[in-house]
């Protein structure tokens, strides 16, 4: 029995979906746990459950802003994610060992990307690179073609440097959630094979939650 995790779900108050609703649908789909990471705020009323993890997705408009936000949230939440897209922000995120996840490095519309330097930093610091399935589901035609192309590029770099990668739904409502097998089929669209996709849904997310990646790589967190 595999334990599937979805580490990027947005819940109330940022969206209309409540944590209970999201969790019940996710459980029915076969997930073991979900992580609620709203943009720039931590959910106040936390439900006591070992299937829900709380974190924060930091949206920064400059590198110094990001550093300030990391300092503010560090040690208080179990997951620190960075809202990627901008090249400078991407770089600042993968260089910082305190960060757990770099969410959608190609942006929500395919505007940014990774290069070999950033992929190497991500591997060294144990920062998980996140592939956003929601953007594939919600875009069409040229935009989706561009996104899939970007993801293919990122996947190539991640494979080469062996950086951790995760597949997430970025769900903003219960209708945005997708079952693990559907996620694997979607990941095949940009060339990820079944074993990699299963790892990106089970093994790597649980490693991110336990900070196993950081320990294995002897990352020094100052």
């Amino acid at each position: 029995m595999l334990n599937y995790f979805d580490l990027n779900v947005h819940a109330y108050p940022e969206t209309d979906a409540s944590v209970e609703e999201l969790l019940s649908v996710a459980k029915r789909y076969g997930y073991t746990g979900i992580a609620i990471i709203n943009h720039d705020e931590v959910v106040q009323e936390q439900k006591e459950s070992n299937a829900v993890f709380y974190g924060v997705e930091m949206k920064a408009n400059s590198v110094s802003d990001l550093k300030r936000k990391i300092k503010l949230h560090w040690g208080k939440v179990s997951l620190l994610a960075v809202h990627g897209g901008n090249d400078k922000i991407n770089r600042a995120a993968v260089e910082n060992p305190k960060v757990d996840i770099l969410a959608h490095p190609c942006g929500e519309k395919g505007e940014g990307g990774l290069n070999h330097v950033l992929a190497r930093y991500a591997a060294e610091n144990g920062v998980a690179i996140d592939f956003n399935m929601n953007s594939i589901i919600h875009s069409r035609r040229g935009e989706r073609a561009r996104l899939l192309g970007k993801m293919r590029e990122i996947l190539k770099l991640v494979r080469k440097y062996n950086a951790p990668m995760i597949l997430t739904t970025h769900a903003r409502s219960i209708y945005d959630l997708r079952a693990p097998q559907e996620m694997i089929a979607l990941a095949a669209l940009f060339g990820m094979n079944k074993e990699e996709a299963t790892g990106a849904l089970c093994d790597i997310p649980s490693g991110v939650l336990e900070k196993r990646w950081k320990k294995e790589r002897d990352v020094e967190i100052r």
Binding site: I137, R141, D176, L177, E182, M183
Partner: protein
């Protein structure tokens, strides 16, 4: 040769030439009630958008049935496709985010080689 045998040869393809099919039983989570026609249109749109005309024709998709559940707006349906295109069809089902502006989420519950197998519920 009797007439019946000749007729059966004309009507049915021999087993070795028949299409190999898979039947996908899927579940739709939906904010409002949707009917079969709307859903089918969206499935084809998604399939065309993702794989184009050639890919859509190769997958041989056919909606066998769709029923709304009694107490909620959610529904369950059965879809037929070519046996080697299951993953492609699954991806295009996953890419459906709304039907006539109503948000939906689709998940495949069971895959089977026969309609009977796909409609049979798992033993509790």
């Amino acid at each position: 040769m009797n007439m019946k045998y000749i007729l059966s040869l004309m009507l049915h393809l021999p087993p070795s030439l028949r299409d190999r099919r898979r039947y996908l039983r899927f579940e739709v989570i939906c904010a409002r009630e949707i009917d079969k026609r709307e859903l089918l249109k969206e499935i084809w749109n998604s399939l065309y958008a993702l794989y184009g005309d050639v890919g859509a024709s190769e997958s041989k998709v056919w909606l066998i049935g769709y029923h709304k559940s009694e107490d909620t707006n959610n529904g369950v349906g059965i879809l037929r496709c070519a046996h080697d295109k299951v993953d492609e069809v699954r991806a295009s089902l996953a890419c459906i985010h709304s039907v006539n502006d109503a948000p939906v989420g689709i998940r495949v519950i069971k895959i089977s080689g026969t309609i009977k197998g796909a409609s049979r519920l798992r033993r509790q």
